[in-house]
Symmetry: C2
Subunit: 413 residues, 2 copies
């Protein structure tokens, strides 16, 4: 019999309690013994819940109870999650977390404490919700040199972009609907500005390289500047726009970014819609594979926590090799990363052709009927080159008191 | 240092040798020690290959060399693969195979020998080529009650169906192209009649239930009767036809089948095209997730073998819990399984409406311009009910010396 404590009885924590109960027999079979919930730590009481008699308010009860061998952290945020998790590991308990902020900020230290104490620190649920992705990286693709990980890692923004794509909604309208449905927070910044995706791609990059990645090194751009007009062009081009977290690894160099990207129908992530997540992994031998599923939600995310509990139960006496070391992985400056670009400009292409070609070289042109603007798809160039080209073009337009570039979206088409 | 032998230097075996060499450092890092290829068993010599000096022709060399702790079987077929693998396990060696026929026919016995000898019998590459699916079932979804596994598990048939769908090719034309490209064998029966998919879904069903599944119990229908006319209707309906291997598990009862199925654009497997494979897994807590990638090919499949080698290397002294027991899982008779059906009939709907409704009840009608036939989409009914309805309809037509049903395809729309 293994005793578990859950810290934080919110959406995910209550899901973990629910699955521990409902799938008790499956879990016992896989873990090799019964797994029982002993405590739930929360500031609140839940008198009508099935865990009413397990609620404790004092972390010390869990920390000091030697019978509790596995602790699940589903509080979110850094404080008190960080000191609590650290104390549990130092007390020789296995810790499982769904908290991407914690893993992105303190993962290196917590992984090292787990190794030193010969316990495990698992975090499958911190990325991709119910989609197995952390474990496949250390259990299934171990013989691969990972060359790229690209994910649609945030269900809220994917829901908004899908609404804009399929129904012609504006960003504001789609955000409002997401908020009404409970998919987006009242303050949606962490999602729509890409911060959530940034922490997740930082964790995946660290898993793939085996080195610490500072999420602050990753260029991060959200979806707030994407408009319904962009999707009108996308429709004509047979493309869509998705918020990608991408990491490319080549010869020890890593480029990583979070940004809306225009992709075509043949991209493996094109069909990942609504609140679903999808993660593409390219290995040097395997080629491209893709993992798809519910990136959030109570039970899917809790299911990933349960898988971690079972792996901990199967490895009570040994530290499973995973994660990364304190060696810092450098991330290339964004200016050196290359893309094609979808660029919208004021005016008509016929009048601007010379300026466009002077600034951007050869381009593909896309025109919509009845719009006083046009769009081009550039050749592949670095961000630095693109910025110089946009500046040059805008300067030539400004000389004539005319507007220049209205929108720039990276493109993988 | 761990010494490995590879039995069979064909496509996959040579891929394994290549990755062991090219990704040597990655593999050593994950395995915790160097992994070296010592022997390659083949009837032929390969004087110009990088493994020329490792070729042996006599299995006994491998069986009797105590230094060889991991043996990879990539010969295919049952003889001599079965006696060789059995002998290796009995000699206390870990065995890894890519051979679905072997696993489907003798997996139960080989898994038990591995348990008895405290070694491992792994077979990730036997299903889905490079796509991790066996390992996710025992490493990632362990806390789930698996309710459904549906896979596009055969790249050859998926290539043929994609050609028919996207280019209007006939079955014969698409098959010929697949043969010319090397995707289909000269004798394509194992692929196009569904036998390959049958063995794979049998293995996945056994993994999901923990019980032995006799692949001969699984209703298996190939794609040879699918025509370009079917795809004309599919285009009008916004659907496609894919060869599914499906297993549904509910309350200890299992229904499993291999058959072409008509699906809509919102099915997670709709976008799995060409030679790619995709496997959808539905769990009671997780909901739907999907794994996508190269279902065949030298390096992707070999990469799955390498992952098995690494897991064996990490568990040299213990049997990893996976697979199934000798308890037999019953499979429901196909007549009791329910679908909607896409049915094409001779004549015009206007003239046949009464007979159609008498036999099938309410239906959705699909008509193509200029065809002396029409199609209907029935309500959900069991196979038994459908067969009775088709017989009844055909009898009523025959009375009038008219043709009846021309085609029946199961539909999940």
């Amino acid at each position: 019999m293994i005793k578990v404590a859950v810290m934080g009885y919110g959406t995910i924590g209550s899901g973990v309690a629910e699955i521990l109960d409902q799938n008790r027999d499956v879990i016992a079979g896989q873990a090799g013994q019964d797994v029982e919930l002993k405590y739930v730590l929360d500031l609140r009481d839940f008198p009508d819940s099935p865990v009413a008699d397990k609620i404790v308010h004092d972390f010390k009860v869990i920390e000091q109870d030697g019978e509790v061998e596995i602790v699940v952290e589903t509080m979110g945020g850094l404080n008190p999650a960080y000191p609590f998790v650290k104390a549990c590991l130092e007390a020789g308990k296995h810790v499982i977390t769904s908290n991407k902020a914690l893993v992105a900020a303190y993962g290196t230290e917590l992984l090292q404490i787990a190794r030193d104490k010969n316990v495990n620190f698992f975090f499958e649920a911190s990325v991709g919700g119910g989609i197995p992705i952390i474990r496949p990286l250390y259990r299934c693709l171990m013989g691969e040199r990972i060359e790229e990980i690209t994910g649609i890692l945030n269900g809220t923004t994917n829901f908004i972009l899908t609404k804009m794509d399929k129904e012609g909604a504006s960003f504001e309208g789609a955000l409002k609907e997401a908020q009404n449905l409970g998919y987006a927070e009242r303050n949606p910044e962490a999602d729509v500005e890409g911060h959530d995706t940034c922490r997740k791609i930082a964790i995946l990059t660290a898993m793939a390289t085996g080195r610490e990645v500072n999420f602050e090194d990753i260029y991060t751009e959200g979806i707030t500047k994407i408009t319904d007009v962009d999707f009108k062009y996308a429709e004509k081009m047979g493309t869509s726009v998705k918020l990608f977290g991408t990491s490319r690894i080549s010869g020890g160099r890593v480029s990583a970014f979070v940004a809306p990207v225009m992709i075509g129908k043949d991209h493996p992530l094109y069909a990942v819609s609504d609140v679903y997540n999808g993660i593409m992994v390219r290995g040097n031998m395997l080629g491209t594979s893709m993992f798809y599923g519910s990136g959030a939600g109570k039970l899917p995310t809790a299911s990933a926590v349960i898988a971690d509990i079972i792996e901990a139960a199967q490895n009570m006496k040994r530290n499973v090799r995973l994660g990364w070391t304190s060696e810092r992985q450098a991330v290339e400056p964004m200016d050196r990363v290359s893309f094609r670009y979808f660029i919208r400009m004021a005016g008509t292409y016929r009048n601007k052709e010379q300026d466009v070609r002077a600034a951007f070289g050869p381009v593909e042109v896309v025109e919509l009927y009845g719009m006083d603007e046009f769009a081009v798809l550039t050749r592949e160039m670095t961000e630095g080159e693109m910025k110089a080209a946009v500046s040059g073009y805008n300067a030539s337009e400004a000389e004539r008191s005319e507007y220049g570039v209205k929108q720039t979206i990276r493109a993988m088409v």
